[in-house]
Amino acid sequence: MSGVLIVAEQVDSNVSKPTLELLTLARRLGEPVAVVFGETDDAITKTLGEYGATRVVFVADSSATEYLVAPKAEALGQIAASVDPVAILISSTPEGKEIAGRLAVKLESGLITDATDIAADGTTTQSVFAGNWTVTAAVTHGIPVVTVKPNAVTPELAPTEPAISEAEVSISDAARTAHIVSSEPKESSGRPELTEAAVVVSGGRGTGGNFAAIEELADLLGGAVGASRAAVDAGWYPYAYQIGQTGKTVSPQLYIAAGISGAIQHRAGMQTSKAIVAVNKDAEAPIFALADLGIVGDLHKVLGSVIAEIKQRKM
């Protein structure tokens, strides 16, 4: 059976949930071959094997962490040349998309980004124009390079004993030009990853800069906190939590938008959520057109009462 190259993303000393999703999708197309940038690691191999990776290729070259994007793309190009995969799947992160773009040029292959699904025949599904259209497409030339959005599929266990190898790659000087001179780690919020969370509670202009109720409700529901661009631009919440066209796209089971009017740029990032609740003072806010439940009222008052009630029930 033919190999399908996937690029594993690491988080907290193992691989990310979107990586497991890539493995599950890759099994539809062939045998998953996972590429990991880093030293050989038993825990990572074990996880990748549990989700169906038949091969794990470690790339320990330090260029991948010292320089932006290009060394990873070059290494993957060389691995692709030896594996000859039927497709290459990469997570739709900013870095993942740039790697994919460079790979497509190197391999003279068609590129599809931000797929929300991929079928056994390689047909992809994408949600475009702020989630207002669904597009199916396929790569018609070369090895399909596809980046996949988080939550495209539920990861499925498919235990295998992967073959482990360390790839000998040679990274050119041309790929070592955007030098990462420093890296300042960000403080973790301790909440679920925004793009992976089942529940997202978001605040916008209507919070007036006070996210206390947003955070407390998110914590009571085991969810993540998001913010609209207006709230981020006002300096009320960090950019990493921005939902919308220029931030994250989320598709949780439940999305609660508090004090967010629902401009097209915001809807682009949350329109495909399964259930949507909106709390807003303005009865005319466009967000209500998307909401399964809309509450016209002051968000601090509404969320305050909801938080009190949930706490009461939990006692």
Binding site: A104, T177, A240, T246, I295, V302
Partner: protein, 260 residues
């Protein structure tokens, strides 16, 4: 120093956006404009030009006749000149062919620095800067929340989910900047008047030495199979919050979904 800013003409995101019968974006259905995210790139170029006295800011746009509107806007903001790459054969090009044309045009223009937005607001792929860099063999410092430039080097800050990176590269280089890089200016009356006299060159594929058969819909390495509008969402329940009715409804909703 010569700076080229890539500026795309896109359909207005706040209008109804649709597809043409050949599966490409319908660029005639509503008026287009300069992609909002490219305004940040123009702004960064203009700021560099203000800090130094030897900077020429050239707008580069690949698109049809209407795309002149995007060029006009960028010139009104303060750019010095523009290059409009216009050729019917380009219609329907994928990201591969788009990057091929732009890379050839950049080579011909010979800038020290290319500044791009983080993504277009229509295709939203965010891959063109990386693809151009790959073709030119230039450094690519992408997704800068800040950008600073000296005589022969540049530095950006790139914020990821887990870290804030400082990235340095030598010129010539290509960078992209995010919407965090600083609000884009509005054209002044003086800028609007001055824009009318600024030079706009037209380049065709032949000027770039690119075979028309290498680009366009037929040469695309991806094929759109189907485009389907998202079915309109059924109107949900909207309640007021008189006497706490709203919070009660939300608690009930959360309980029904077993969130609490």
């Amino acid at each position: 120093m010569k700076i080229v800013v890539l500026a795309k003409y896109v359909p207005d995101a706040t209008a109804e956006r649709t597809f043409a019968s050949d599966g490409t974006v319908d660029r005639t259905a509503s008026a287009g404009l300069l992609s909002e995210l490219d305004e940040y790139a123009v702004e960064q170029a203009l700021q560099i030009a203000e800090d130094r006295d030897d900077v020429e800011v050239v707008i580069m746009t690949l698109g049809g006749e209407d795309a002149a509107d995007a060029i006009k806007r960028a010139l009104q903001m303060g750019a010095s000149a523009a290059i409009h790459i216009i050729d019917d054969a380009v219609h329907g090009s994928d990201a591969l062919a788009t990057s091929l044309v732009l890379a050839a045009a950049i080579k011909k223009a010979g800038p020290d620095l290319v500044i791009c937005g983080m993504a277009s607001t229509d295709g939203t792929m965010g891959v063109i800067p990386a693809m151009i860099a790959e073709r030119l063999g230039w450094p690519a410092a992408t997704l800068g929340a800040t950008l600073s430039v000296t005589e022969d080097r540049l530095m950006i800050r790139r914020d990821t989910d887990v870290a804030s990176l400082m990235i340095e590269a030598s010129l010539p280089a290509i960078v992209s900047v995010t919407d965090q890089s600083g609000e884009a200016r509005y054209p002044s009356m003086k800028g609007i008047l001055a824009a009318k006299k600024k030079p706009v060159e037209s380049w065709t594929l032949a000027d770039l030495g690119i075979d028309a058969a290498a680009v366009g819909l037929d040469a695309a390495w991806t094929k759109v199979l189907q485009t389907t509008p998202r079915p309109p969402k059924e109107q949900g329940r909207v309640v007021g919050d008189e006497d706490g009715a709203g919070s009660a409804a939300l608690v009930e909703f959360l309980a029904a979904g077993k969130y609490i």
